[in-house]
Point group: C2
Amino acid sequence: MKLGRLNHVGVATPSIEQSLAMYRRLFGAEPSSPAFDLPAQGVKVCFVDAPNSQIELIEPLGPDSPIARFLEKNPQGGQHHVCFEVPDIETARAHFERLGARILGPTRIGAHGTPIFFLHPKDMGGMLTEIMESPKQAH
Amino acid sequence: MKLGRLNHVGVATPSIEQSLAMYRRLFGAEPSSPAFDLPAQGVKVCFVDAPNSQIELIEPLGPDSPIARFLEKNPQGGQHHVCFEVPDIETARAHFERLGARILGPTRIGAHGTPIFFLHPKDMGGMLTEIMESPKQAH
């Protein structure tokens, strides 16, 4: 297991629309594609591209969203998680399980359409960490 | 102004040594160079490379460190800031000043030896943001 690409930094926001206005105004940055709902995660998602990585803006889909509590504590939003790529999600899951790192929930399909899971922040230096299988095509 | 490379994610930790042990155990990752003190920022610094970006581990140099309060709130550590590159720091500073984004303190030399400044999280969707002049050589 090697440390893979930093696919994105996940940033919680009360409003993707307001966050996009901020990136547009300060950085001239536009989203790489329109925002979309990811009901399995309880969030609305929109990516803003840096040349080498991405910012993933995530907005709660409803009051039961997994990020609702984060936004209660951080009403403005802020850094929520980081995401590293792996070549194969099942190999990675077995690897982390063998090492005793806690995995949050089942492997599921993430915002880039590939399987993902989350490592518990307590096993990652306080940092909620998404592990994502690399897309098969260049991105 | 374009959104530049995501140079690194800054991660506060009570112990760089313990964080490195975690990255080594879970990801087989080694620091790109030994940890070093950055007294101007009040932190000890160590970088861990992902293929496209870096994790910057930062540990307080003393009780007056700017990250001491962050670690009081987050004793395990966690995501502290993100850093985007710009081609020229003075142009970037003038750009953000003109747009009314609050800049925290003077422009100073950062961990990669190039000038940096920080944007206030309240003007960046709750995300403390370092703006860093790209190193002149490839990195």
